[in-house]
Symmetry: C2
Subunit: 318 residues, 2 copies
């Protein structure tokens, strides 16, 4: 049985090996990713994003349990370095997660690389594709919602949950600042805390003022309050996700197509950016131009990075 | 007087125009950046990074005041979308900032772009170079310390302040997870809050366990407690920065060279990555290959992004 067949059959060991190679950016992944690509597109991808400490991992944990109750298989991808899924956990969290480790219907992996030359968005997309090809029905992707890459990742999910907690005025500030215009659903977690209603009210005002996810212009974002640790509000959140899913799959509004086009475009650009850089750096090295020497010339003001890049591209591009 | 001469003479209007063009990624910036490059390298760059809400902008504000007392000129660059400097502020903050707006010795700009095709690190580096060339002695760069780009930016500063507040266990988690190994100085702000000593103790333990900035392996990170809003601890922080500066400029340890080499390398790679992608996309478009069409082929599974990128690079690279 080929590696591809093993992965498509859902073999955990073969899949884990490929994901590790993606994380390490081993060149042998490309033929495999090409072959797997036609087998992607069946999974429903849910992004969860928000600051550290808002409880994203606990929500992922609860949602995984809820989807399992429907008999659906779940892939969990933690791009958040503070996530217990990715090993940034305190002990208690890690123990709590173990119930899923024993369930063959749940496949959990984290992205460890903060790569040499970037590539976070690209590796995340690749990993989502692999989990999709291995047959997971639902893929939950946890990212920290601040950096540019992380927002990009969240943006290519079917449904994006923007998670916040009461009293984080800064969260609302961030929304106003424009980077957070990506939520299909706003989750106010730890809703038993003081200020929960105020946060909900502020979010509602922002939505009424026209805050919309660029991909879903006709979708009015939902607001759900949860206490993820106790499981409170998880059913509401599940229903909200199903509602957004039904909205996307309503052919008349064309929103699903818009999201899939955006994802295709993001994959194309991220892979091109990465591979172009790698190919050019490889050629430079083959010609004896080391990054070390060039950096020294820049550092010593014998040249500048703009001139060097111009020269390199003149030389390497047809 | 040429634009270059105006900028070198510290002309605010000419500089502001170039910075706006960098933010918009206008192609006309390259010849100017090339010409300015030999005039860079005099400024001392201080990065401040940490989660939203820890008080980075208030610290920037206080440090700017402190450096002004020494007669030094200050550039402030806000890469953080939640920073009051970048317009993500609530009204009170913005009013507080105005004292610097009236001081010609302080030049404040923010980076608005969350660019089409990335480029955050690159634009930030470019803007630091411009503020450097215009003669600012100190450049304070405020970033959100979570994303990969933001960490990269902080990493190329002379001195990096990692800002946290008491009771953010997640912050310490993030440090353990490895992304935060970039602080020359740890600042525990809002130190009047409960748990401040505990946070300091935890940080001290991590430092004793060998937490070190990769660039300064022989530097033992300092910990400073501040209450930035009241100005408490700012003098300690200033002295800590001066101590780190003296350490860097001690020629025997070679740490300054290591930081400058890292910055040169980062600039080279980020510009190359960006320009290679732009050049290739431009050539594709000139040949009538639109991103839209290619994305549709990927979306429809007529091809996959790996195959398309492979074909494009075969065609475009010599």
């Amino acid at each position: 049985m080929s590696i591809i067949d093993q992965i498509i059959a859902g073999d955990v060991r073969a899949t884990a090996r490929l994901l590790r190679d993606i994380d390490d950016q081993v060149p042998s992944i490309y033929p495999l990713l090409k072959e797997l690509y036609p087998h992607t597109g069946k999974a429903y991808v849910i992004g969860l994003t928000g600051s550290p400490g808002v409880g994203k991992s606990t929500l992922v944990d609860q949602l995984a349990t809820r989807f399992r109750q429907e008999g659906l298989t779940v892939g969990i991808l933690a791009v958040d370095p503070t996530s217990p899924f990715s090993g940034g956990a305190i002990l208690g969290d890690r123990i709590r997660m173990q119930r899923h480790f024993l369930d063959p219907g749940v496949f959990i992996r984290s992205l460890a690389t903060r790569g040499h030359f970037g590539g976070l968005t690209r590796s995340t997309n690749d990993m989502i594709n692999v989990m999709d090809a291995m047959g997971k029905d639902i893929i939950l992707v946890e990212t920290v919602g601040v950096g540019q890459d992380e927002v990009e990742v969240a943006n290519s999910a079917h449904t994006t949950l923007l998670v916040t907690i009461p009293g984080m005025g800064d969260e609302v500030q961030a929304i106003k600042a424009g980077i957070m215009e990506i939520g299909s659903i706003f989750v106010v977690n730890k809703a038993d805390r003081e200020g929960s209603r105020k946060t909900v009210r502020e979010l509602r005002n922002l939505i009424e003022l026209g805050l919309r996810r660029k991909e879903d212009t006709t979708w009015e974002p939902l607001i759900v309050q949860t206490e993820a640790l106790k499981g409170v509000g998880i059913e509401d959140l599940y229903q909200a996700i199903m509602k957004h899913r039904a909205y996307l799959f309503d052919n008349e509004n064309g929103q699903l197509d818009s999201i899939l086009m955006k994802r295709a475009r993001s994959q194309l650009i991220e892979i091109l950016r990465d591979e172009a850089l790698k190919a050019i750096l490889g050629r430079m090295e083959a010609q004896g131009m080391s990054l070390e020497d060039l950096s020294r010339r820049i550092r010593n003001k014998e040249s500048d990075p703009y001139t060097i890049v111009h020269e390199v591209l003149e030389r390497e591009l047809k």
